[in-house]
């Protein structure tokens, strides 16, 4: 048997290319006579457009086309509501170019296509638009309040969706409880800010009548389907390729963004390739964001701290449109009980329109908010009952032998009841306590005090439903000439290292080195069944599909090799790119097997010549290709998860606060996580630490700010503060591996794991640190220095100094 690479820190296949500047992102695609698009965007959060004059822009030298809602034909329509749901009371989606009204600063009003980007941008400035600004209610609570200014005139109360779910009987639990803890928490707006913004390049080929679209997207197949239906072109005439994609984190899942429709449209109309590259400001005002939610959560507990029931009501800010339906709010509401048994749950939310950038999932997708709510509530419960924070959690964990743990009545984003599949929660908590040095906490606190600082312990536990269905596919083929393995799947990568882990999965089945597996994804020309990359699902869903396809390919190889070598299939082993009779040196290469299984007319290479020296690969009579057989070794298979698999983990931190400057320093950070079996621990660590950095942003630095008129105040990297290297604390990662029983590889997703618990962890640490100063509770994320200052203002200043 070949050495298994599953579980090994195999180096990535694409790194040489990325490290030497050979990565190809959309802006690196060089097409002859490509034209460039630029957009005029609304400067108002809410306004009526009274007139648009594009004559000067049209007359500008070098301009090839100026588009408004009036000359884009049938594309001038509401873009699709991607995930409908019965609880959506007033679903609204945006149009490619505003017609009559604008709903947020940044909304696309007109598009200019010109010979180069500078000309296009100059011409954009020549377009004259008259707006009648309307009053706005920007803050979530204001927009939800009675008498708020409406985003959509016909959507009363700005309520886009209202949904209640029940599991068990919360009312009865609250009636029975000894104690009720109630808190309100608020998580602020953030944005994914991938290093490469969005980008689209399109070419209409008149000869083949093919529309070729390069799109920096996480969902090429969906974009392909959408474009085909919108332009009424056969699907196989539209090819969408996501080449190297410079980060996505959810922001690039949405289809359609207006630009994704308009750029291909312009390419067809102008019969000329057109490219649009989002600039950084546009990414802040024209690409979706996420996070603002205000939860009021109540826990009904016994005096021993057993939580009998949970009620959560929250407002979810969906921005000006709701193309993704209730996905985020639904994930938040179904993750709300965390790792705890809590048998009786009532969750209710309202999704509220605000005149801001539309909201779709960003890494975490509702989970950081749910985690923040439940974890801060558990801390409050412990405090109120005089119990230890760790102990309260322990008393409520679902025990290992209680899985599968179903929350009947709570439907997860896949439409199925929440059902946790496996976990060792208590162990995770203990490991976190140990790694952070809980037994030395008092000592460390005293040490900080001696330096004029206050140290606290941060703690956060998260669960994460991962590997959502419906399905993905895997296509495996052994190339007859090189013997290399080609693997395709429908979703796309934004740097998560799919090409390497997928290669490992196939390599293990076929006995080759992962570097001999060529993974092609994100190209509808290569494989076009599937969904997209989001919700930590790629490794689980595509990974298992590829595993299934590769193991079938393995059987085919073994059967063919046994025939060729005149041996029993049970004696064949696959290793080093060969099928060999165990314990002998009689072997055929995979190239020979692939050739021999493909009845050929011409022996044009060495594998073909040498393949003839063996017995036939197939034992059958009749025509060269047996009835019902396909040539070569090629398999396509699919994996469709029965339901989501739940990863989890526990974070802990030592957080030090300087009471005079109100600054926060994280002395140490521990991530204990369990994503089932790990395919590649190096890549898993990369995902966890990277996610942790984004979580850190959400805890201390990143907030998209709007003024009261709905103007973004920090739409750029100078003011939207993401962590640099120095901000990253020392992070220790502790891996646990509880296999998922749901899929053949026993894996769970890890893409979002690092992010979810960080705000809950760090902010609980700040609160713990400042307890001696009576600073009170920190129930908002992120926490900025001035907020600490305000909390300390209530405290005895003398003690602080």
């Amino acid at each position: 048997m070949a050495t298994r690479t599953f579980g090994e820190p195999v180096q990535r296949n694409i790194d040489d290319r990325l490290l030497t500047g050979q990565g190809h992102y959309i802006d690196d695609i060089d097409l002859p006579s490509v034209a460039h698009a630029a957009f005029l965007r609304s400067p108002f959060a809410r306004a009526k457009i009274t007139s648009i004059d594009v004559s000067a822009a049209r007359a500008h030298p070098g301009v090839l086309g100026v588009f408004t809602c009036d000359n884009i034909g049938h594309i001038d329509q509401d873009l699709p509501l991607l995930i409908p749901h019965p609880c959506l009371v007033g679903p609204r989606t945006q149009r490619p170019l505003a017609r009559g009204d604008v709903y947020y600063v940044g909304q696309t009003v007109a598009m200019v296509v010109a010979v180069d980007r500078y000309t296009a941008e100059d011409a954009v400035r020549l377009i004259e638009v008259d707006y009648d600004p309307l009053p706005v209610s920007v803050e979530l609570e204001d927009a939800a309040a009675d008498g708020a200014n409406l985003v959509h005139e016909d959507v009363a109360g700005n309520v886009a969706a209202h949904f209640v779910q029940n599991s068990g009987d919360a009312a009865a639990a609250f009636a029975r409880a000894d104690h009720v803890t109630k808190i309100t928490v608020r998580v602020e707006r953030s944005t994914a800010a991938p290093m490469e913004g969005r980008a689209v390049c399109a070419r209409w080929d008149r000869i083949t009548e093919q529309l070729m679209v390069w799109d920096s997207t996480q969902a090429p197949i969906s974009v392909r389907g959408g474009l085909a239906s919108l332009f009424d072109i056969d699907e196989d005439r539209v090819r969408v390729v996501a080449p190297d994609v410079g980060g996505g984190f959810g922001q690039k899942v949405l289809f359609f963004y207006p630009e994704e429709v308009l750029v291909p449209m312009a390419a067809i109309q102008l019969d000329r390739p057109v490219k649009w590259i989002e600039d950084r400001t546009e990414n802040f005002i024209g690409s979706t964001q996420e996070r603002t939610q205000v939860h009021t959560i109540e826990l009904a507990a016994t005096k021993d701290g057993e939580v009998l029931g949970l009620r959560d009501f929250f407002l979810h800010d969906t921005g000006s449109f709701i193309p993704y339906g209730i996905a985020i709010a639904q994930v938040a509401s179904t993750s709300i009980a965390g790792p705890y048994r809590i048998p009786n749950i009532e969750v209710e939310f309202k999704a509220i329109y605000t005149p801001t950038v539309p909201v779709t999932p960003y890494r975490g997708c509702g989970r950081p908010q749910a985690c923040f709510a439940i974890e801060r509530a558990m801390d409050k419960l412990a405090e109120e009952l005089g119990l230890d924070r760790f102990e309260v959690r322990r008393r409520n964990f679902i025990a290992p032998d209680q899985f599968p743990w179903k929350r009947e009545g709570l439907l997860f984003a896949d439409g199925l009841a929440v059902c946790y599949d496996s976990g060792e929660y208590d162990t995770a908590l203990s490991k976190a306590a140990e790694a952070i040095g809980l037994d030395r906490l008092d000592e460390m606190k005293a040490d900080a005090r001696a330096r004029g600082k206050y140290l606290g312990l941060g703690l956060g536990f998260y669960v994460e439903g991962t590997g959502l269905g419906p399905y993905e596919g895997g296509h495996v083929r052994i190339h007859p000439i090189t013997g290399k393995i080609y693997v395709n799947t429908g979703l796309s990568t934004q740097g998560q290292g799919h090409d390497t882990v997928f290669a490992q999965i196939a390599a293990d089945q076929l006995g080759v080195d992962p570097s001999d597996v060529i993974v092609v994804e994100g190209d509808t020309g290569a494989f076009d069944w599937g969904v997209a990359t989001f919700a930590s699902r790629a490794a689980v869903v595509s990974g298992n599909a590829i595993h299934k396809a590769a193991s079938k390919a393995r059987e085919m190889v073994i059967e063919a090799a046994a025939n060729m070598l005149e041996a029993a299939p049970g004696d064949i082993e696959l290793a080093e790119g060969k099928a060999r009779i165990s314990g002998s040196d009689r072997a055929v290469t995979l190239a020979e097997v692939a050739t021999a299984t493909n009845p050929l007319r011409y022996a044009f290479n060495k594998a073909a010549q040498s393949a003839t020296q063996f017995a036939p690969a197939s034992k059958h009579d009749g025509p060269p290709l047996a009835d019902g057989k396909a040539p070569g070794i090629e398999v396509t298979d699919y994996y469709s998860p029965p339901y989501s698999t739940w990863a989890y983990g526990c974070h802990a931190a030592l957080v030090e606060v300087d009471p005079a400057l109100c600054t926060v320093d994280i002395r140490q950070y521990v991530c204990v996580h369990d994503c089932g079996n790990m395919i590649n621990p190096m890549i898993v660590e990369g995902q966890v630490i990277g996610g942790m950095a984004q979580g850190l942003g959400g805890a201390l630095y990143e907030k998209v700010q709007y003024d009261q008129d709905g103007n973004p105040r920090n739409a750029g990297f100078m003011d939207f503060l993401m962590p640099y290297a120095t901000e990253m604390p020392k992070v220790d990662i502790v891996h646990m591996e509880t296999p998922s029983p749901l899929n053949p590889l026993g894996i769970k997703g890890v893409g979002e794991a690092g992010t979810i618990a960080v705000p809950a962890t760090i902010i609980s640490g700040i609160e713990d640190a400042l307890k001696p100063l009576g600073a009170g509770h920190f129930h908002e994320a992120p926490v900025f220095p001035h907020m600490i200052f305000e909390k300390l203002g209530g405290a005895d200043q003398a003690k602080a100094s």
Binding site: P9, R125, G495
Partner: protein
């Protein structure tokens, strides 16, 4: 003006390249990506913050070799690269062998989506070629990549890769004798003028030529490092037709280190002035370390920081507290002005059309002067200060004889705290109970603003806290525990 050159010369892959047809505002990034099709270098923000566009510029160093500095190509004007070797990520691997930095990044899984990667490679290339190649710790690596954003990796693997790669002696085939020869050939040392009277990029080589040119074109934009001006072009899309670059004037990049004073040319970069300014006081070194990033400091100038008149520039408060003077020149006339008098009001300085900052001068603090400075921002690296405080106290036998205190971020201009200064006069350092009036007086000195960086109340609190911190530190032992220097971890200042 007698321009002697109408083209710039840069060194690319060992060869001198002449470029004569460029717009005054063309950026180095556009030149690389659009003209050379060297597309390895990426644009992530076009405002100098993300570092995806980082390239290395090589110029003859102090000694024999070539000095490599990282710059943000997105806001670096092409004309400014005149006379430099330009190295991009594509140039790094040689004969199919990855550069040690690249190899180490592969081994440490230091790239995920790969978009920021070229910028990190180049920032680390500059670190690899650092001036003093002795031991390197995590903090130094963090400092070296303080201008590079990565949204995927969480930085850890990048730092580990850098530590590994930089542990070995430099051996990568860059900065050889051939490089020096090519650089000599490229550096024509003559005044440059590309364009015509209406639209030009000019780079005089003497102050006299500059003075004459600026009198002729008082509406031209002076550019030192373009770390401000670059953003006017890329973000504000201001039309700029006439650019006069100061970086080629030797007299203006010079630093005169006298026994009791420093005279720094207005076009000296932070990197050039680093040693001289850092020696004045460790707190100044710490502020400089956190000012922008290596990319910003490689080209940005103290002169530009003074001249732009920003209320949140980091160096003016430091220099005002040190009693700096600035030399202003118009044609043949020179004016000397106390720096604090240069700032008249928000956005308004005492500078006439055609007049420019030639240099500034600071007295070195004497043995009786205690100096402290602090930069307070939300993020440690590359963040605009919410408050910047600088204190210079003249102390005699434990009594404060006089004080100079200047703040940034507390008013529309960098401003002295005159009331607080007065309240400190004749106060004993040994008796903290006497300090409060000075702290309270800050409320009379300043009425700060609320903005998205900080609230007014928080700024006021911080200002008071910093004054107290300075007094506490100066009164007490001067130890690592009290000074805000060195590693971030050592920033554990006993504030109370």
């Amino acid at each position: 003006m007698q321009a002697e050159r109408h083209a710039i010369h840069i060194v690319r892959r060992g060869k001198v390249v002449e470029i004569s047809d460029f717009a005054p505002t063309e950026t180095l990034l556009d030149y690389l990506r659009l003209r050379e099709r060297a597309i390895g270098t990426k644009e992530g923000c076009a405002e100098g913050d993300c570092g995806a566009c980082t390239v290395a510029l090589g110029r003859p160093g102090e000694g024999e070799g070539t000095e490599y500095r990282p710059v943000n190509a997105c806001i670096h004007l092409l004309g400014m690269a005149d006379g430099a070797e330009v190295i991009t990520v594509e140039d790094m691997a040689r004969d199919g062998e990855l550069h040690p930095i690249q190899q180490s990044m592969v081994e440490h899984h230091a790239s995920q989506c790969g978009f920021c990667t070229p910028g990190f490679v180049m920032a680390l290339f500059a670190l690899y070629h650092r001036e003093a190649p002795d031991g390197l710790d995590r903090t130094q690596v963090n400092d070296a990549i303080a201008g590079n954003l990565c949204r995927c990796t969480g930085y850890k693997p990048i730092v580990a890769a850098a530590l590994d790669a930089c542990a070995d002696p430099v051996f990568d085939g860059f900065g050889t004798d051939e490089t020096i020869m090519a650089l000599k050939e490229a550096d024509k040392g003559k005044t440059l003028f590309v364009g015509d009277e209406n639209r030009f990029f000019a780079a005089p080589v003497s102050i006299d030529e500059l003075a004459a040119l600026y009198v002729l074109h008082p509406d031209a934009t002076l550019v030192a490092g373009a770390t401000d001006v670059g953003l006017w072009i890329t973000k504000q899309m201001r039309p700029i037709d006439r650019v006069i670059h100061l970086g080629r004037i030797r007299e203006m990049t010079a630093i005169e280190d006298n026994p009791d004073s420093l005279v720094i040319g207005a076009a000296a970069t932070y990197a050039d002035a680093w040693d001289a300014l850092s020696k004045l006081d460790p707190d100044i070194a710490e502020v400089l370390r956190r000012l922008g990033s290596p990319q910003v400091r490689a080209v940005g100038t103290v002169g530009g920081n003074i001249a732009n008149g920003s209320p949140i520039g980091d160096t003016p408060p430091l220099l005002i507290a040190l009693g700096a003077e600035t030399m202003l020149r118009h044609g043949g006339d020179i004016r000397v002005l106390a720096l604090e008098d240069f700032y008249l009001d928000y956005g308004k300085q005492d500078r006439q059309p055609g007049e420019f900052v030639e240099s500034f001068r600071v007295e070195k603090p004497g043995p009786n002067t205690a100096f402290r400075a602090y930069k307070i921002s939300k993020r440690f690296d590359q963040d605009i200060s919410a408050v910047l405080a600088a204190f210079a106290l003249d102390i005699h036998q434990g009594i404060i004889r006089s004080a100079k205190i200047a703040f940034g971020g507390m008013a529309g201009i960098p401003k002295r705290a005159r009331y607080a200064e007065k309240a400190l006069k004749d106060i004993s350092l040994n008796d903290p109970s006497g300090w409060q009036p000075a702290i309270d007086a800050l409320a009379r000195d300043f009425a700060p603003m609320d903005d998205h960086r900080a609230s007014a109340a928080y700024r006021s609190q911080v200002a008071g806290g910093l004054l107290k911190k300075a007094l506490t530190e100066i009164a007490g032992e001067d130890t690592m525990a009290t000074r805000l220097t060195g590693t971030r971890e050592a920033a554990d200042v006993g504030l109370t």
